[in-house]
Each structure stands twice: as C-alpha cells, then as structure tokens.
Symmetry: C2
Subunit: 198 residues, 2 copies
DNA sequence: TTGACTAGAACGAATGTTCATTCTAGTCTG
DNA sequence: CAGACTAGAATGAACATTCGTTCTAGTCAA
C-alpha cells in the first residue's frame, strides 16, 4: 500500500518507449552504472527534462524496464501452458522460446537473466524467484505429479531440466557459441529430458 | 609488454590481504559500483593512502581479486584431474567441490560466477572462457573420446553436465534453496550424468 | 651504543570531476 | 489560456584519486 510501486508513471508515449529502448541497450552493453543520464539523453533523443517528467529517477527507468519484461515473459509462458498439455511439451516449448528470444532480442535476455538487479533496484527479489521462473518450476512439478517426471526434489528436477539450456544461453550471449541457439535445441532438449524422465 | 598487467603490485602483505578480503565482501554484498573506497577503508582498516600504495586504482583491487581466485580454482581443478581418471569421476568431483566452496565461501563463488566482470574490469574476457571453465569442458570432451560420454556437440554436453549444478549454486546463493548444496549432490549428479552417459 | 640518514609504508585532508537531479523558461495543443 | 510536455543550463553531493606529510625500521659511521 505504501510501497514505491505506486510512484510508477511511464505511460506508453513514444518518448518513454525511446527512453526504455535506449536504456535497455545501454544497460546491457555497458552496465547500469556505466550508463549516465546524459548517455540516455543522447541515445534516446529525449531531453533530461522529459526523462524526469516520465520517470521518477534513473532507478525508475530500470524498474519500469524490468517489470515490463517480466510481465511479457510471464504471459509468454502462460500461453505455452495453455497451448501444451504435457510437462514434456511445455518445458521444451519454454526452452525453444528462450532460445529464439535470445537470438531475436539478446539485450532483453541479457537484462532479464544476467543482470544483477539487486545492485541497482534495491528492493527487487532475485530473478530466480520472479513469476516466470516459478512457472518453469511448476511445469516440472506438474510433470512429476502426472508421472512423466521421476520423483525427486522439485527444484533439483527443474534445475536439471532448464540448467543446460540456460547455460547455453549465457554462453551464446557471451559470444562463446557461434551458431544460433535453435541449432542446439534438439540436442540439449534430449539431454534435459533424459535427465529427469521416468 | 606495454599491457597494464605489469603494473600489478599487491604482494601478500597483511594490508593487501585485509583490503582484498574487505573488497570481496563488499563487492559481493553491495556490488562493485555501490562500494566506495571509503567503504573499503572502513571495512579493511587500511587507509586510503595505503590502498593506493598497493593497488593502482579501484579497478586494480577487483582485478587482483579476480586473478587470485581464478588461479585458485584452476589449481583446484588440476588437482581433481590428477586425482581422478574418468570423466565421470572428474566431473562429479568438480561439482562436489563447487558445492562445498559455495557453502564455505559464498562470497568467493558469488564473485567468480555471478558478477558482471566486464562492467568493472573492462578488458576482461567473460568467466565462461576463463581457464577453469575450459578445464571443465575438456573433462567432458575427454570422456567423449574415451567412450564414457555419448557423441555430441562438446559444448552442449558440457552444458548438460554442469548446467544443473551451476543453476543450483545460483539458487542457493540467491537464498532460494534452504538446505546446503551437498545435500543435493547425489540427486543432481545422477541427472547430470544420465543426460550424457552413453 | 648512539645518532644521522634513508626508503618504504601509512595517513587522511584537499582536489577536481562526474553525474543524478532540479529549476526556470519556453513551446505546443486542446 | 491552461496544462502537459520539452529543453538544457545550473546545482550540489559523492566519489576516485593525488599529494604533502608523518611514521617505522633498517643501515651504517664513528
């Protein structure tokens, strides 16, 4: 009720989109702390004054960005849950989506998965406890209940299923993997599923 | 020859140890950019002047820390390679070691695995291409050559083997896992190995 | 043994710069 | 013309780094 969440303005004007887009790129290329407001001004062609008109402060830009992207991921995952019935299909679809997103919008992925949000959005829980990650774990647990996935500590199972894929995403974003991720989808998925299937 | 690497001083005086220890804690607790030199002065009981006597600058502290820890990990892994003959045993030992280290010295692990070094040590390759990670991949490849591990893209195999464990480490450091990691060693190792064994 | 001399180490106040944020003034638009 | 929006100069605080000085311990000459 008295949380800072209410402070959020940031409607979807072209200006805010400009700012969020520029901030996303700068934050992921150089890091949040190496990005100054003047940098964002230059990259977005939106003036200091306007930025502070739409956002409470620099942190507010990051918060707004983060919330938007988490929501997007959340609804992506919900669609997947609706479109597929089995844990097998759902988990595979999640990995396929993450792989494609990484190729299409690396900055989004970098910001979501591999930023230390805590450092610049102080009152933020780690990504791992954000809704999308919870959804991923729920998919695995559902598979355990339906008998597709062997009985074991749920979070360990989830780590086994998604760990390899997340690792590949990191390697790809770090430039260690040359081929696009979807090329590896079948291979890593076979490993992932074999590791937990009954 | 003209690289900055030579500039490194930082012998092992008590003072430098103090500074490195304090920096490790502060960097991992609050992040590099949220840590000021005065913070380090307070936490280490070493004066500003002395810090600049031993280290070229703030970045130099981080560099020194990083290099020390990478070397340590490197030699740990070499010992493991010497002590075990099969890919199976080596990889398992690596995970066991990482799990124990995470419990014993979480800050070390956090700094090594989950900091965005690029952001504060500009000329640093991503961790994933540091020696220890290469060693991990080599272990898997060796296993493929010896017939223990099924034929597949090496880096995908390595991700499958270590991905789950690394994920658990992250979850543990983020406070999502309550039990100490070694409790999960058998379970995750079974998954990991099953995912790539012939 | 003493006292002069030296060099490295330690100190923390002073400096200059960077940067988030604020302010004042101006410009559209309904 | 009123209110939302834009603009960019001005402000002030925080910070990394420098500098002049002091301290400590070792060396050596007499």
């Amino acid at each position: 009720m008295d949380t800072t969440a209410e402070t959020q303005r940031a409607r979807n004007t072209p200006a805010t989109e400009q700012v969020l887009g520029a901030a996303l790129n700068l934050f992921t290329e150089q890091g949040y702390f190496n990005t100054s407001i003047p940098d964002i001004v230059k990259a977005s062609s939106v003036s200091t004054g306007s930025i502070y008109h739409y956002f409470s402060d620099k942190e507010g830009i990051a918060r707004s960005l983060y919330e938007t992207l988490v929501e997007r991921m959340e609804s992506n995952f919900s669609e997947i849950e609706a479109a597929h019935a089995t844990a097998h299909d759902r988990c595979r679809a999640v990995i396929a989506l993450l792989f494609e997103l990484t190729e299409q919008e690396p900055a989004v992925m970098r910001f979501m998965l591999f930023s230390r949000h805590k450092e610049f959005i102080p009152d933020q829980k780690p990504v791992c406890s954000s809704r999308p990650f919870v959804q991923m774990r729920e998919m695995v647990v559902a598979g355990m209940q339906s008998g597709e996935v062997r009985e074991m500590t749920p979070i360990v199972a989830a780590s086994a299923v998604f760990g390899g894929a997340l690792r590949l995403i990191q390697l790809r974003l770090d430039g260690i993997l040359d081929a696009p991720l979807p090329d590896y989808l079948d291979e890593i998925w076979q490993c992932a599923w074999r590791s937990v299937a009954v």
